[in-house]
């Protein structure tokens, strides 16, 4: 039986990718953010997960508005990163684990989730940056990408994303392989890139959300999408990915480490590692 040993989450700001490529991790601007990963990596080195399920959102690399899925699950042997148009370096491909992908797909459809199945899928910085942050030596385990639409309204509700993540967790628990799995929630926390409200950050909400992830993980599902936009910014809704990733772990979790830092680029950056209690 596969089991989820931990839930990881981090912001995925593209500038992070640039900073990694340029080796700026110890510069004063970046240090407080990157230092937050040291305890996470120590924990990962101890736990050595065999697979990772990444909940993220695509920013116009694989999906355009011509065909925009609410939930898309990758089922490919490898996932290529590609030129995203703004000059962050393209990373080498990431390994997939199609057997686990299909187990997740089968279970999600059986549980009435109307997903898109992708046997080829480009992955953008929202997928690659967290893997690169948690596994800087490029030794990330094979991954299952689960992409949530946070771009074109209507977005799936927080409740729906929670339910979807929970079903992914069920699929993992029912998977007939003796494997350790971690989930990653990618994105957030509060930020808004566009409009007169650009630069919006809501620190008290973010800190409450981080607290809730441990003790009261369904807390944020009380909010509608528009309430989340109001409280966290148009891009802050990426915390849907955190909710889904958290929901995959049934039962209680313990905080291994947490970091919250304002700002990285326009964003309140956060990192969180939880382990199964």
């Amino acid at each position: 039986m596969a089991r989820i040993v931990g839930g990881l989450a981090t912001s995925h700001i593209p500038a992070i990718g640039g900073a990694i490529a340029k080796g700026l991790q110890k510069e004063p601007y970046w240090k407080p953010f990157f230092d937050g990963f040291d305890p996470a990596r120590e924990w990962l080195a101890r736990e050595r997960p065999d697979a990772v399920v990444v909940f993220y959102n695509d920013h116009g690399l694989n999906f355009f508005l011509d065909k925009m899925p609410t939930f898309a699950v990758g089922a490919a042997p490898e996932y290529r990163n590609d030129d995203e148009g703004w000059g962050i370096p393209t990373l080498p491909p990431f390994k997939g684990i199609p057997e686990l992908s299909w187990a997740v797909i089968d279970h999600l459809v059986a549980k009435d989730f109307d997903i898109v199945t992708c046997q080829e899928m480009l992955v953008d910085h929202a997928f690659t940056v967290p893997l690169k942050l948690f596994w800087p030596d490029d030794d990330a385990p094979p991954a299952v990408p689960v992409c949530i639409n946070t771009v074109q309204f209507p977005l799936p509700s927080a409740k729906r994303c929670w339910a979807m993540g929970k079903a992914v967790g069920e699929a993992i628990a029912a998977w007939d392989e003796d494997m350790k799995v971690v989930t990653i929630g990618s994105g957030g926390l509060s930020h808004q890139l566009e409009g007169q409200r650009a630069g919006f950050i809501n620190k008290p909400f973010d800190l409450e959300f981080l607290r809730s992830m441990v003790d009261d993980p369904e807390w944020a599902t009380q909010f509608s999408i528009l309430e989340l936009v109001e409280k966290t910014g148009t891009q802050g809704v990426e915390l849907l990915n955190w909710l889904a990733a958290r929901a995959a772990s049934p039962g209680r979790m313990r905080r291994v480490c947490q970091n919250y830092h304002i700002p990285i680029s326009n964003t309140a950056a956060a990192t969180l590692v939880l382990e199964a209690a």
Binding site: P98, W102, A103, I105, D106, A110, T117, Q119, A174
Partner: protein
């Protein structure tokens, strides 16, 4: 996989599930390329050369050249995708379907006119219907 085992117990039928979809990925993608007139022309001009441009296995390529639809299905093809090969050859769905049953075109057409293949004996492998041929897998 989670797909009910019962799907595998229907005679003469391959359900296009995860396993098939993975196995047949490039075979089916090749078929889709035949929706462009230009690609159909290139394929017809030199089938082997055109096939070599795709990541098909040697077995899949041979099955395409042989127009062996049952074999293509075994190797992960899906009938809706494979029908693009039939369309390229100017074949109807009925001709394609008939070719998989071991019947002549006339016999197949006559069977359809007489009400089609009967379900009795063809629900589960091991019954006594006319679609109960041994499966190769």
């Amino acid at each position: 996989m989670a797909l009910d085992k019962a799907f595998k117990e229907i005679p003469g039928t391959i359900v296009f599930d995860a396993e098939q979809a993975r196995k047949g990925y490039w075979l089916n993608q090749f078929c889709m390329s035949l929706m462009k007139a230009e690609n159909r022309a290139r394929f017809k001009a030199d089938e082997r050369a055109y096939l070599d441009g795709w990541k098909l296995t040697e077995e899949q390529k041979q099955a395409v050249v042989d127009r062996d639809l049952n074999r293509m299905m075994e190797l992960g093809g899906n009938i809706y995708f494979l029908s693009k090969i039939g369309a390229t050859d100017g074949k109807s769905f009925q001709q394609m379907a008939g070719s998989m049953t071991g019947m002549s075109e006339e016999d197949y057409r006559a069977m359809m006119l007489a009400g089609g293949r009967r379900i009795d004996g063809n629900r589960r492998i091991g019954e006594d219907g006319d679609a109960q041929r041994p499966r190769k897998d």
